[in-house]
């Protein structure tokens, strides 16, 4: 019988430094068949595991159409992520997934797409951006609003030029503050300050939000005031997760398991639910 707690060896193919404490890791399952059958929906996540140390869940950050490998972008904050940051190209990790419900790709087709994200939240919608790039005719205007605390903390900077140049696409950046000596040509302020210049309106649009819960709370409140409806706002939630298959119980949010019913939820489905800070 298949064991959902089994983890599979994967090799680190590439490591890209994003910020002083955040790297993007390109991984591939060692077993070719497993790798070529590994498919996911943008917004789904994987578990990265180290026997003897532990494991944690991470968004898949790469294109869903690439079958050779997959990326995940990880900030060093705890025991598992510290171990990940010690990895070198060629090292082995243990991986399983994908888990959860991703972004609603089908229902976004034909619509304008607004992505609002903060800090280490950008990896989750990045596969959506790539998907839209790959299927540009299927979607309307794409607007990406991205905020970090400082310029140094922005990830995927190497992608910005490409995103800027994408057809019918706009990328707006902001930081909470600019430390002395650093250069910054974009906005200063929380991500919602970008809403003033936002071109996407409520009509025929889908909004994808991923970031700290407090940021998502203010973004949602602001969008609702601007006439957006709870049905068109999608949020990717963070919770403690141990299993990814709705058994360990840690990620429960009222009647939902964030790992199984989410992490992407429609705002109208979670509005007013206990312990949901949005």
């Amino acid at each position: 019988m298949k064991d959902p707690y089994q983890r599979h060896p994967a090799e680190v193919l590439d490591i890209k430094s994003e910020t002083p404490n955040t790297n993007t890791y390109t991984l591939a399952f060692t077993n070719d068949e497993l790798q070529s059958n590994f498919s996911f929906i943008p917004g789904q996540f994987i578990v990265i595991s180290f026997p003897g140390i532990g494991e944690a869940m991470f968004s898949i950050a790469s294109s869903a159409s690439t079958r050779e490998s997959f990326d995940t972008t990880i900030r060093k904050v705890g025991r598992v992520t510290t171990k990940i940051h010690e990895l070198e190209v060629g090292d082995q990790v243990w991986v399983a997934g994908p888990y959860g419900k991703g972004w609603p790709m089908k229902s976004l087709e034909g619509k304008d797409v607004l992505i609002i994200t903060g800090g280490i939240g950008l990896p989750s919608p990045r596969p959506v951006i790539i998907h839209i790039e790959e299927h540009r005719e299927d979607f309307g205007f794409l607007e990406i609003l991205y905020g970090t605390r400082t310029p140094e903390e922005s990830i995927f900077e190497w992608e910005y030029e490409k995103w800027h140049k994408m057809d019918r696409t706009r990328l707006m950046l902001t930081v909470d503050r600019v430390p002395e000596g650093e250069e910054w040509q974009h906005r200063v302020g929380v991500v919602t300050t970008l809403f003033e210049d936002m071109v996407t309106g409520p009509r025929n649009a889908g909004v994808l939000i991923c970031g700290p819960e407090v940021m998502m709370h203010f973004a949602v409140q602001d969008l609702m005031r601007r006439g957006f409806h709870g049905d068109q706002l999608y949020l990717s939630l963070e919770r403690r997760m141990r299993c990814g298959i709705a058994q360990c119980g840690h990620c429960q949010l009222g009647p939902y398991f964030v790992c199984k019913d989410g992490p992407v939820f429609k705002y109208s489905d979670i509005r007013g639910i206990p312990d949901c800070g949005i």
Binding site: P4, P51, T81
Partner: protein, 345 residues
């Protein structure tokens, strides 16, 4: 279905027959309380027990169990870690039996956990209709007792000086037929009905479940959470004794060689502060009142949305074990009776 009766003096004989099938676990005395444990001698068996300290959940979802072993960073094969062996669970009460139905949906529903499945398949289950109602019991109002309707191989009911034995599965029927006992009569079934009717009149606690899942969802800011959160010690004993609490943590342990170890899972409880903690110190339920609300609402509300079954089975263990007398039936009553109304000025 096949039913027989057996004089109560034949319980030792029945036990010997069951032992031929495998190790027998049943209610045994444990100081002033009862526990489910191995029944070596018939004198150990307490068939008139009320409620055990821990529910029989521990036989299927172990308090701590290995997920896989590892050596030098490599994970060992994890299949067949729990051996296939025939065991008998003897004397499980109807409420605890219905808890297994709930756990089946957790561990065999969305994804199947092979450890749980193997343990579940290993057991031949003999249920036992309750003989008395404890002051903490409220299974009747939860629809899980005092009689059992399914989920057993055999159901035993003490009627006078004898037992009515009813089969609930093919295996159960085969065993009953092999025992060569007297077929049950209408009188025996009548005695069982009378016992259940008598028990129904003995309950001191109840929960009115009509619309309760919705009521909990709408009562998240009810003062009852703050009031009980104030006195809750967040000790987590309620979750530890709950027959349907399924939460667990996953941890790694390395032995002194630093090369070998195991990844294991261990019961965890939402009352504990670390339960909802995430990276960088974030916590989605930092207050005791929020954690208590999670425990109570999961039992009376969320579980019904998750599994179409009420999580709480009315065994009363959480009430009995609580050091500060927090009572889920009282909270349910307060939620219903004192719904804060909107003040219209």
């Amino acid at each position: 279905m096949y039913s027989v009766t057996m004089p109560e003096e034949k319980v030792p004989w029945l036990l010997d027959r069951l032992k031929e099938m495998g190790s027998v676990f049943g209610p045994i005395s444990n100081g002033p309380e009862y526990s489910f444990g191995p029944v070596d001698r018939v004198e150990d068996l307490c068939l008139d027990y009320t409620t055990t300290i821990l529910p029989p959940k521990k036989f299927f979802f172990a308090p701590r169990e290995t997920i896989f072993n590892f050596e030098d960073g490599e994970i060992s094969k994890i299949s067949d870690m729990i051996p296939e062996e025939s065991k008998v669970l003897f004397g499980i009460h109807p409420c605890d039996l219905s808890a297994l139905e709930f756990l089946d949906r957790v561990f065999l529903g969305f994804r199947s956990d092979p450890r749980y499945l193997r343990r579940r398949n290993n057991f031949f289950i003999i249920a036992l209709t309750c003989r008395s109602v404890s002051e903490h019991c409220f299974c009747q109002s939860m629809g899980t007792g005092p009689g059992a309707s399914g989920g057993f191989d055999i159901l035993m009911t003490h009627i006078g000086r004898r037992y009515l034995l009813e089969s609930g599965s093919r295996d159960g029927e085969d065993l009953l037929r092999s025992l060569d006992l007297t077929d049950a009569s209408e009188e025996d079934f009548e005695a069982k009905r009378a016992l259940i009717e008598r028990l129904k009149g003995e309950f001191k606690r109840s929960v009115d479940m009509d619309g309760m899942p919705e009521l909990c969802m709408q009562s998240q800011t009810h003062p009852v959470w703050e009031k009980n959160g104030e006195i809750c010690l967040a000790c987590g004993q309620c979750g530890m004794v709950c027959p349907t609490c399924f939460c667990f943590d996953i941890k790694d342990r390395v032995d002194s060689s630093l090369r070998r170890g195991e990844r294991y899972r261990e019961w965890d409880v939402c009352l504990l502060k670390e339960f909802s903690q995430v990276a960088m110190g974030g916590n989605f339920r930092p207050e005791r009142s929020a954690r208590l609300r999670q425990f109570i609402c999961h039992n009376l509300s969320y579980g019904s949305y998750q599994y179409s079954l009420t999580k709480c089975i009315g065994c009363g263990r959480c009430i009995k074990v609580c050091p500060v007398d927090i009572d889920i039936t009282e909270i349910a009553r307060e939620l219903r009776e004192t719904q804060p109304r909107l003040v219209v000025s």
